[in-house]
């Protein structure tokens, strides 16, 4: 077979992914004067960031002057069950206020209180009202602002272009290879640095808030070129996804509902979260309904347990449903109707109002919502240097959900959008610096590129009859049932076996039709990264024999001091994943002191 011709482009920095992190990285790299391209799977402005609802966590102290980066740092570390990279948590808390104000300089319009500064809202795990927001559509405001800013900076954008493999030369990044969705034709980028901003892999689970794009591309591409992955066992199941009707199961219900006064109730009408306050958060959590309700008015009171970190709330809902106190559809009630005026609800939560009205025939100003956990966010991902976002492969950088470290074992709501901005900017900055300092020419191995091209076309010539959608659905069943909120060794091992079988089956995938905008083919290719992500997550889940944050083991129900000191690292050796436990970086004493303060 004659090798197919493909178009080739040369850049200094290729940013893969155009959500908040990718856009911010591209803006920064371009501002540093290096030739930058932004490559994304969907149209510009449709990335997952657009779905973020609640807000951007930043200790600006507009509502509570007592708030500052030290409190935010402490909240993030405690929310992450002390497994977060301390340096990332520090940088994040220190820099996020500037990143929010920068968005305002670029045209974003956040909600305002009476004094005219940016209004901040309450969210789970944050001691003070801290989230800059626009109603419940903060992500839309953020992505549109960044998108328009990037467009006016003249950054080259390659839309609906799916990069599948990274290329290296003597261990350094030298390019990336993929295809145009529209034509199915191949495209090669030669570059000095790649910034991964590809998000997570939540589409491997069945009940998920994630879109088709979330197939673990960045994690798998990085692992394929030998980069370390870290904390892959920690998946966040957001406590409140829609549960009914079946077709909307998993769609996100913002934590802002609880931040603005909503409470969780079981079918007996009990506010059950008071029964699930863990020792770790006892000092700072209200014990009675009266105390919890008073907290909304005055933060001198202790916070409502409805706003415990997401892992705690998701487990509590899971337990209530298991105990038979859930709704007939397997959820619990989230009630704001009986607690706030219709006018307030519509003003604060317009898109939630709209979403329930249109998709579930529920008027949230009159009735309670039915909610349950939904796969939402990967805390783990590519292991990066805290300051520079550099992965362990030279020339590779990662920011946002695809990177590991900031969120430890559990992410706080609102810390994602700020993560995207803070580390997106740093990724762009340090990728540019790396390019400027790089000496010598890089080569792209054309034999390797041609081999990738053949691999990607194989499903068209396959003699098999596997349907890629069926394999994907089987993987989702497997991860949902065996690598879900509550895990146990025997099931995790079974999941590994199934993943191996599914890998075999992908070789027999047969694609009908041609290469032009063919979603069946696109999914067949994404199965590689979905399976890579799932395998790494399952292996890491077996390795961590304790329960912590977004990783709960039925066979090891408690935290274990031994595991409090290590990250689980996964890396590929000779094509197979290998595991190791590596010690957490030592935290400076002055930061340790912040964590030890009571309340």
């Amino acid at each position: 077979m004659a090798e197919e011709k493909y178009e080739t482009h040369e850049y200094d920095v290729i940013v893969i992914g155009a959500g908040g992190a990718g856009l911010r990285a591209a803006v920064e790299a371009s501002a540093q004067g290096v030739k930058t391209a932004l490559v994304c799977k969907s149209l510009l402005g449709k990335a997952h960031t657009v779905m973020a609802e609640g807000g951007i966590a930043a200790a600006m102290g507009n509502v509570y002057p007592e708030d500052n980066w030290k409190v935010h740092f402490r909240d993030t570390m405690r929310g992450g069950k002390l497994l977060s990279n301390w340096r990332m948590a520090q940088i994040h808390a220190q820099e996020s206020p500037d990143r929010v104000l920068e968005l305002e300089e670029w045209g974003a319009l956040f909600d305002r209180p009476k004094d005219g500064l940016i209004l901040q809202r309450d969210f789970g795990g944050h001691r003070y009202a801290r989230l800059a927001h626009v109603g419940d559509r903060t992500g839309l405001e953020m992505i549109r602002t960044l998108q328009q800013h990037a467009v006016h900076k003249g950054i080259d954008v390659y839309m609906e272009c799916n990069l599948q493999r990274l290329l290296t030369d003597a261990g350094k990044i030298s390019g990336a290879f993929g295809y145009w969705r529209e034509s199915g034709k191949f495209i090669l980028f030669k570059c000095k640095a790649v910034v991964l901003a590809t998000g997570g892999g939540g589409k491997a689970w069945k009940v998920t808030s994630n879109s088709w794009e979330y197939t673990g591309d960045g994690v798998t591409m990085a692992a394929d070129v030998g980069a370390d992955l870290m904390d892959m066992e920690f998946m966040q199941f957001h406590p409140t996804g829609m549960v009914w009707p079946p077709s909307v199961r998993g769609i996100l219900v913002t934590e802002g509902v609880r931040g603005d006064g909503g409470t969780l109730k079981n079918t007996k009408g009990e506010r059950f979260m008071f029964n699930y306050i863990p020792e770790f958060f006892k000092v700072e959590t209200a014990e009675t309904e009266k105390e919890a309700d008073a907290w909304y008015e005055d933060k001198k009171n202790r916070r409502t347990p409805d706003l415990l970190p997401r892992d705690e709330v998701a487990r509590a809902i899971n337990s209530e449903v298991k105990a038979g106190r859930g709704t007939e559809h397997g959820g619990v009630f989230l009630d704001i109707a009986s607690r706030r005026s219709a006018d307030y609800i519509q003003r604060r939560l317009p898109s939630m109002y709209h979403q329930f009205k249109e998709l579930a025939d529920v008027d949230i100003t009159k009735e309670a919502m039915e909610v349950g956990p939904t796969c939402h966010y990967a805390m783990g991902g590519v292991r990066v240097d805290a300051d520079t976002t550099a992965a362990t492969v030279p020339g590779l950088f990662a920011a946002g959900e695809v990177a590991a470290g900031l969120h430890g074992a559990n992410r706080l709501g609102g810390n994602s959008l700020s993560d995207l901005l803070v580390f997106g900017r740093r990724a762009g900055l340090y990728a540019a610096e790396y390019c400027k300092a790089l000496k010598g020419a890089l080569a792209v191995n054309t034999d390797q590129v041609n081999a990738f091209a053949r691999e990607m076309l194989a499903p068209f010539e396959s003699k098999g009859s596997e349907n890629p959608y069926t394999i994907h659905a089987d993987l989702q069943e497997c991860m949902q049932d065996l690598v879900g909120i509550i895990r146990v060794e025997s099931e995790l091992k079974k999941a590994l076996e199934i993943i191996q079988q599914l890998k075999q089956r992908t070789r027999n995938v047969k694609i009908e039709g041609n290469r032009q905008y063919n979603p069946g083919w696109h999914l067949a290719l994404d199965l590689h990264s979905l399976l890579g992500f799932s395998e790494a997550a399952t292996l890491a889940a077996i390795e961590r024999k304790e329960s912590r944050g977004g990783h709960t083991r039925d066979d090891y129900p408690n935290t274990d001091a031994k595991f409090a000191k290590v990250n689980v690292v996964v890396r590929k050796k000779n094509g197979e994943f290998a595991l190791s436990q590596e010690p957490l970086p030592e935290m400076p004493d002055e930061l340790k002191a912040l964590l030890e303060e009571k309340k």
Binding site: S42, L43, L44, G45, K46, H48, V50, M51, L101, E104, E105, W106, G107, L109, D111, R112, P113, K114, D115, G116, L117, V134, G135, R137, G139, L140, E141, R144, Q148, H149, V151, H152, E182, S211, W212, P245, P246, S247, V248, I251, L252, S351, H354, Q355, E358, L359, A360, N467, P468, Y469, T470, A473, I511, E512, G513, Q516, Y517, N518, P519, G520
Partner: protein, 249 residues
Amino acid sequence: MAEQQVHMRLWRGDAKGGEFRDYRIGVGEGMVVLDVIHAIQAQQANDLAVRWNCKAGKCGSCSAEVNGKPRLMCMTRMNTFKPGETITISPMRAFPIIRDLVTDVSYNFRKAEEIPAFKPKPKEADGTRRMFQEDIDRVQEFHKCIECFLCQNVCHVIRDHDDNKPAFAGPRFFVRLASLEMHPLDSNDRMELIQQKAGLGYCNITKCCTEVCPEHIHITDNAIIPLKERLVDEFYDPVRRLFRVFAGK
């Protein structure tokens, strides 16, 4: 609830041509049109091309024409159709077809590039920026736009006259222009662009755009008409005109 069979007619084809094809498929409780499209894709037509992302009306990817009406497929419930009704899905008509339900919407991205960027005024003396909710309410309405381009698709200035596209920005970008012009901090001047290159004058306020907006933005009343009024003030106010004559502008 027992599954019901529905009859779907989907447009299949590419830039060279195509046809409507029939599919019969089971529908479960609460399903939206996009769910049905996905079911057909998984079970009967793996290569059926469609755009989607959030499936919750937040990203504006799955725009199409459902029984001739421009809609987001993810927000169109199957129980809004009569039992036994054939449901026809076609791609947006105002844009060139790529394949099946996917169209080439690059026109919109080109128009976005032509609009001068937001340019903030200097900060307050204390280094802050203060704005009041009542001053930004109207701009926040415009910022709700999810860029589904249904307003562009339905606007007869370009829907029926493709040759108008170079000289017409379309409702989406009138909303964008209005959001910049009414932004309390912006200091850029876009009036000449609005009058000339963006072609606001082509709009004769039939409100088709407002009717199809899934975000219920009052495109005509709150964006287009106020912009038209500003144009009148800027270019046709006799006092200002006289002033321009003397100022030599």
